[in-house]
Structures are given as structure tokens and as C-alpha cells.
Amino acid sequence: MSTSGASGGMHLLDRGVRAIAAAIRSGEASAISVIEEALRRIDEHEGRLHCFNLLTPDAAREAATNIDEAVARGVDPGPLAGVPVALKDNLCTKGVATTCSSKILAGWEPPYDATVVRRLREAGAIAVGKTNLDEFAMGSSTENSAFGATRNPWDVTRVPGGSSGGTSAAVAGGLVATGLGSDTGGSIRQPASLCGVVGIKPTYGLVSRYGLIAFASSLDQIGTFAVNVGDAAATLEVIAGHDPADSTSLDRPAPSLLRGLEDGVEGLRVGLIGDFLGDVASACAKAADDAGEALASAGAKVEQVSIPEMLLGLPAYYIIAPAEASSNLARYDGVRYGLRVEGPDAETMNARTRAAGFGPEVRRRIMIGTYALSAGYYDAYYGQALKARTLVIRAFEAAYERFDVLLSPTTPSAAFKLGSKTANPIEMYLSDLCTIPSNLSGHPAVSVPFALDPEGLPVGVQVLAPALGEALMLRVAATLEAVAPAAARGPVPLGDVNSQAGVS
């Protein structure tokens, strides 16, 4: 573990969200010292990892100073006091460039904060910058960013996953204590698995989407990354809860997620989804199997279950998500903000701007989405996909009559080499096989680091729960975390900048 600044033990920055906040709130440690450590690490390793599109060190230092002053005055700065966080660059931050890693929004500064950004700040968390993502959150490797790929701290020749690769890598590299991502088809869970960290996608509607730049509105959810389940849950508690600015926000306050986390799994009914096991790398299948056994040893009743409708998820998703995206991205037209490529008339200006501003994956998805909604094809594609969605939801409902939670691999493989799946878009899409069904149903799911594959790369397993089943889901995740080898999870000791890439 990184030891810089501490006397022979772990630096506070590596002790996690709750420990950092507790130390700062009590005055035991200063926020500025933690932020300075984060900024130092970023300084040292960011050039190699490229987690961030933009860093905001001055603002971070100012926030840290303010927090320390508040503590000195006896004012409680909040439950995440002084915790360095990374924000995916599709979350609006007032006055701070928010680009979605796209040329079409390069340099755009939102005039308002996303609700989650405001809640984090009000809780005392300190944003150090905006992290890289696949352009407009479309991708599974962060290679679709217009500003260059992010590298996996475990092996910089490999991808961190996507679309929230920047946040995942920043957390996995110990650059920040926690971070926010967004998950539409697996974009939190898959990079979490590839980076050996925890990634939570909450129940649809639990976290406000106001200020999240939309990809697919009925699927998008904001969620959290951290090195351990408790910290990811602590951050989620802060951002969750009803928001009147989001009509799809559940009308309930933030749930308590930390209570009962350590209660174990005695008597819980766990269903191991068998339908993915044949389509994933053996290390990933084995991890899921071993996870099942671990839960059984801990007192759960584990059974394999077949839910064939899960396999409808991927094709349905690759109709529904692009369809909604084709509409959500229509607003990037060169008229009010962002890139404008001049033309003799508005229509030409619009079409040229969009062709120049959107990368190939975004264009592909806009095209397929437009097609799926177009006259003559709506029923065959979008209409059918919505019905497939119903079948997936019904299948989940039936499963949850027999089981309390479900278990599966998170993703078909460990971190793959940069450039290895970019030739064929569909190969990349298959990364979402196990994660997509939860987006279609709106149910929560979490990826927990559980094993290392034969090449020493992290492999996560996924716990799925019914709507609003976060507490139970995280309890199961915490149990798995407790028995998983420590080597399987981050943060990765990055060593000094001249050393070889990879695990030490």
C-alpha cells in the first residue's frame, strides 16, 4: 500500500471513505493533507493512466481548507468530510468543463450542478476532477473517448473497462477514495470488475438523474465506486434519495445502507444464474461458482438457476438504448452550445457539426437507434424490444419468488488489451452480457472483486437484488468481500513512475 506521508502504516487516503471522513470530522487529520496526497499521486501517475479529462486542484485545495476551518470552528462538514472523489465527466459541474469525452461538448461549462454533485459537496466530499469515459457513455473500454483511452492500473496495456473507466481506474489506482460513474448497460459494474474495485448500480429512480447527461433515459443510473463495499455504500447513501427535479426519482428518502452490512447471509436463498456461464471466460465462470460456494459455506442456500430470458437482454438493449440515445443526442446541433461547424444554412450546419463532433461509436448508435424508431421499423425493432423487456422483467420477478438475491459473473472476461476489441463493435457489446438485464428491469446490482485470473488480473462477481433490495444485496456483497483474497482488490500499488507497469 502507498505509504507516502504516513509513519509506517497505510496513508489515510487508502483507509477508505468512512475512515477519512471520521478522521477529518474529529480533527484528527486535516482535509488539506488528504487532498494534497491525492493530488500528489495524480501528479505522479496521471500521465500514464489518463483517468481524468480535467483536474481541479485549486478548487479542491480551497474546499479542503474550508473544511478544516469549519472543523476548527466546531462546525460538522458532513458525512464525507474531506473525502477526495472523482466525478465521471458526464455529470454537470457548474462552471467546470463537462465534455462526455466528446468533441461536440469540448470546453462546455454547464451553468448548473447535477444534483448528485451538489449532494456530495454538501456532504463535504471534495471533487479533484472529471474522469474520462467512453464518449457519451457508449462503450465498454473507455477507448471511445475523443480524448484518448484510460489505462488499467493493474496493467497499463489493458483497458479499465467502460464506460466509467476513468473513475474506476482512479479508484483502483488509489488516486481518490471514491467516485461516481453512470451505468446504462453495465458501465459501472464492468469497469469495477476489470479494475478490482466495488461498483454499485442502484435501483432505477433511487439516485437523481438531474444533471447526468443522458445516454438512455430509462436505463441510466448514477452509482458509486470504492475499494470496498462499505465505502461504496457510504457514498451511495449521500447521493441517493428523492429529487423533485427528476420526475423519475422515487419518492423516498435515501435508504440506510450501512446498517446490517455485516449481518451475514445465514438462511438467504441465492440463485446462481447458469445461463451466462457458458459464454464467459473460465476464470469468470469459476469466480461465480466459487462465490456461490463461499456463500453456501457462510450459511446461504445456494442453487443454480436457469433464466433463459436473460439472454434476450443484450439484443433488446442494443435496440432500446440506441433508440433513446438517438433522441437524447439530437440536441447537439451546434445552435446553443458546444461545437459548431459552419454551413450555408442551419440544416447543413447541423449535420456537419454532428458528423464532426461525434465519434464512430456514437454515430453507429445514433444510426441504429434512429432506424429502430423509424416509420416501418418501429414495431419490428423498438416495439419488439420493449416486449422483450417485459419478458426479462417477468423472468426476474419469477426468480425472486424463489430467491432473495441472484449471483452471476459480472463480465465475460478480465481486462483485455487496448485495441483488442475495437475492430468489431459487436465483440465489445458482448461485454455487457451479464450486466444488461438489471438495467432493463431497473433492479440494483453490484460487482465485488472476488478473484484473480491466471494472468493476475482481477475478476469480479455480480450480486443482483429486486428493486430497492440494496441493503440485502450489499450484505451479500460484503460477505463475499470478507472471504475474497485481498490481492484481488485494489487499490493497486502504482509504484514510482519509472517502474514497470503492473502488479507488484
Partner: protein
């Protein structure tokens, strides 16, 4: 599925029944989507989109008689807001982000037609 010869004909066997996409359709979709694509890009997209359509074809062929569509996973209804004015954005801040402005309004090159 074979690609056609690039001239938009059905040579090579892409027909709608097989769930593929023709070059003309690609061009039409590009127009609807407001993307000014080159001929090469259109051809590449035809291949990519056809492959994707093949991949999602099982959804198209699903027997969904009596299955209602789910547009949204949420059980909510009647989320309503009180009719009370709240301050909005400062005009200067809004216009500062604009590519072109005149007379406190967003300037665009000439609009060819009436709104559809």
C-alpha cells in the same frame, strides 16, 4: 449476409425480410439523424448496422403475442410540480456558451424550411 455492390441494389441478397439494411436506407437514416456522412462512411455503416441488426434479430422474431411493452421500469405516476415562478438562468451566462449571438438571441445560418 452478403454486402451489396455499393450501388444500392439488392445484389448479394439483402432484403428487408432478412433484417438487413440497404445503402439507401442508411442514407435515409443519416438524413433523419442529421449526420453529414461521406460515401465511405455510409458504406462502412451499412456493414456495421447490418451486422448489428443480425445480432438483434432474435428480438425481432420473438413471439410476443399478448406481451405488453414495458417502456419504463418505474411504477410512478402523477409526479407534478406547483405552478410557482423560480429564478432561471442569467441571460449572459447562457449566451456566453453560444457559438453565435446577435441582439441577445442565438444566431443560426438561414433556416431553409418551415418547421415540419
Amino acid at each position: 449476409m452478403e454486402s451489396d455492390g455499393g450501388d444500392g441494389s439488392d445484389v448479394g441478397g439483402i432484403t428487408l425480410d432478412e433484417g438487413g439494411i440497404t445503402l439507401d436506407e442508411v442514407r435515409h437514416v443519416a438524413r433523419l439523424a442529421r449526420l453529414d456522412l461521406s460515401d465511405d462512411e455510409i458504406i462502412t455503416l451499412q456493414g456495421e448496422l447490418s451486422a448489428l441488426l443480425e445480432h438483434v434479430d432474435k428480438v425481432r422474431r420473438l413471439d410476443t403475442a399478448d406481451v405488453p411493452p414495458t417502456a419504463h421500469p418505474l411504477p410512478l405516476s402523477n409526479v407534478l410540480r406547483a405552478d410557482e415562478v423560480r429564478p432561471g438562468l442569467d441571460r449572459d451566462a447562457v449566451l456566453a456558451a453560444a457559438p453565435a449571438v446577435e441582439d441577445h438571441r442565438f444566431l443560426v445560418p438561414s433556416i431553409l424550411g418551415e418547421a415540419p
